[in-house]
């Protein structure tokens, strides 16, 4: 029998292919655009002065374009958020995956999902109205807006992704491992920490990396609670992140200042790329 020509099949195939290509096209376009528009300022300022300069004064008579304060703020802020968010997120995922009764889990899990759905400007707003004044009172500061507040807000914002990815990893641990541990006389907690968590370690690591990615890319919420001043970071001073540096000056920047902002975006982009590669490597390792 002669093979039938099905034009609809061919057409739909081409459509799906085109949709797939769109994603790649955007990634390529953004990468190229950032590289092309980010490199000139780095070239003009000098890569060492740009990356390791400690002073950012973009509108001064004699402008300085050192972004080390932003880089360090982003790194410290992210590390701080991870330090607080990962233990809490991990414990929550253990609770949901292993300990909670089905009824409790059905209350906690939607709450966690809801946390993921709250827009970042709302986090920023509540941080501004509640957290910043509280920190000012508690630590007797002239201004509560600080790296510390940003870390707290970021820690909460990364919780949902850490919780849901680690919970999935913990649930995927074969029940036989846990049974074997319990049958040897281990308690439930010993079993979770010595068998389940190690067996889920690559998934938990992926959760941490995902959290890092979210934290380093966040702009709006932390702009509202961190004070947004280009200081070298310390815990209780106002600081500016890589993301917020771009966001806060772009509206009025021109000339070299504007180009330097593109360069900051490029640096941020490189960070995110490194994190994504790390995440993919971890996930691949998990599949093996």
């Amino acid at each position: 029998m002669k093979q039938k020509v099905r034009p609809m099949e061919t057409f739909m195939g081409a459509m799906f292919f085109a949709c797939g290509i769109i994603a790649i096209a955007f990634v390529l376009f953004i990468s190229l655009y950032l590289i092309v528009s980010g490199l000139p300022a780095i070239w003009e300022i000098g890569i060492v002065d740009f990356l390791f300069g400690t002073k950012w004064a973009s509108t001064a008579a004699e402008p300085k374009f050192g972004i080390l304060p932003f880089i360090l703020t982003s790194i410290y802020g992210t590390c701080g958020a991870i330090l607080i968010g990962v233990p809490i997120g991990f414990m929550t995922s253990v609770y949901l995956a292993k300990i909670a009764s089905p009824k409790m889990a059905s209350i906690v899990r939607p709450a966690v999902d809801l946390l993921a759905g709250i827009p970042s400007v709302v986090y920023g707003l509540i941080g501004m109205m509640v957290l910043v004044p509280a920190v000012r009172e508690a630590f007797n500061l002239p201004d509560g807006a600080s790296l510390f507040c940003a870390i707290i807000v970021l820690a909460i914002m990364i919780l949902p992704s850490i919780i849901s990815v680690s919970e999935t990893a913990l649930k995927a641990v074969p029940h036989e491992y846990e049974e074997a541990s319990l049958a040897l006389g281990a308690t439930q907690i010993e079993t979770i920490f010595k068998v389940s968590a190690p067996a889920a370690s690559s998934g938990i690591a992926a959760a941490v990396v995902l959290g890092i990615g979210r934290a380093i890319g966040e702009a709006m919420a932390i702009m509202m609670v961190a004070g947004n001043v280009a200081n070298m970071p310390s815990l209780f001073s106002s600081v500016r992140f890589l993301t917020t540096a771009v966001a806060s000056e772009m509206a009025y920047a021109s000339g070299l200042q504007r180009q330097a902002l593109y360069s900051i975006a490029l640096v941020l982009f490189v960070f995110i790329m490194i994190i994504n590669v790390a995440l993919n490597t971890l996930l691949k390792k998990k599949e093996d």
Binding site: L182, L184, E190, V195
Partner: protein, 251 residues
Amino acid sequence: MPTIIEAKNLDLWYGQKQALKKINLEIPERQITALIGPSGCGKSTFLRTIDRMNDLVPGVRVEGQMLYAGEDVYSPSVDVTWLRRKIGMVFQKANPFPMSIYDNIAYGPRIHGTRKKSELDEIVEKSLRGAALWDEVKDRLKKSAMGLSGGQQQRLCIARALAVQPDVLLMDESTSALDPGSTMRIEELMRELKKDYTVVIVTHNMQQAARISDRTAFFLLGEMVEVGPTDKIFSTPEDKRTEDYISGRFG
């Protein structure tokens, strides 16, 4: 032989469904007792009641007594971690942890507080020798246990159970997923083990029960129909249902 485990009027329910009905069974020390019967007859449930692994099943309820060394394992004063240490279990599917061979064996002793490397080394070697695995793995103790063959993995699980120095070893169809060669090695091992341990096996394989056990208990529909010396159960059973089962009329 003195009795080490004794069920007295033991009932067990999973939710509304009664899985064990008034079981009375004595298990003598340092012998192999085989529990046989068709699927769903309660033999595995009974085995898991001895070391309270059934506690993990939601909605399980036990009445009557399960005595280990004269003490009811369901009495509130019994520490279940102690119980499971004294009564080891080997499962149907070999379930080594995704760790090295050494860490698999050392897991139990570490949990129970042994920290010294020299002591752990000694336990690991002794347990692996006890499970007839030492010669095959002594050069790769630090390698992952997942790289062993199915039969080796199952012997590793036996070694892991021995490492916490139990009195009793429960084996839940522990050879059903293995090839005949591996099965034979584990049966030989069971004969060795009964010199030092009480062994209780659940098996689907009547020939296996006939080959290696000293006593056999026949379960049917949640009841323990008949128990006795293995030769007697397989040659002149008293109950008609036992006779039908061992002659292959059902099951």
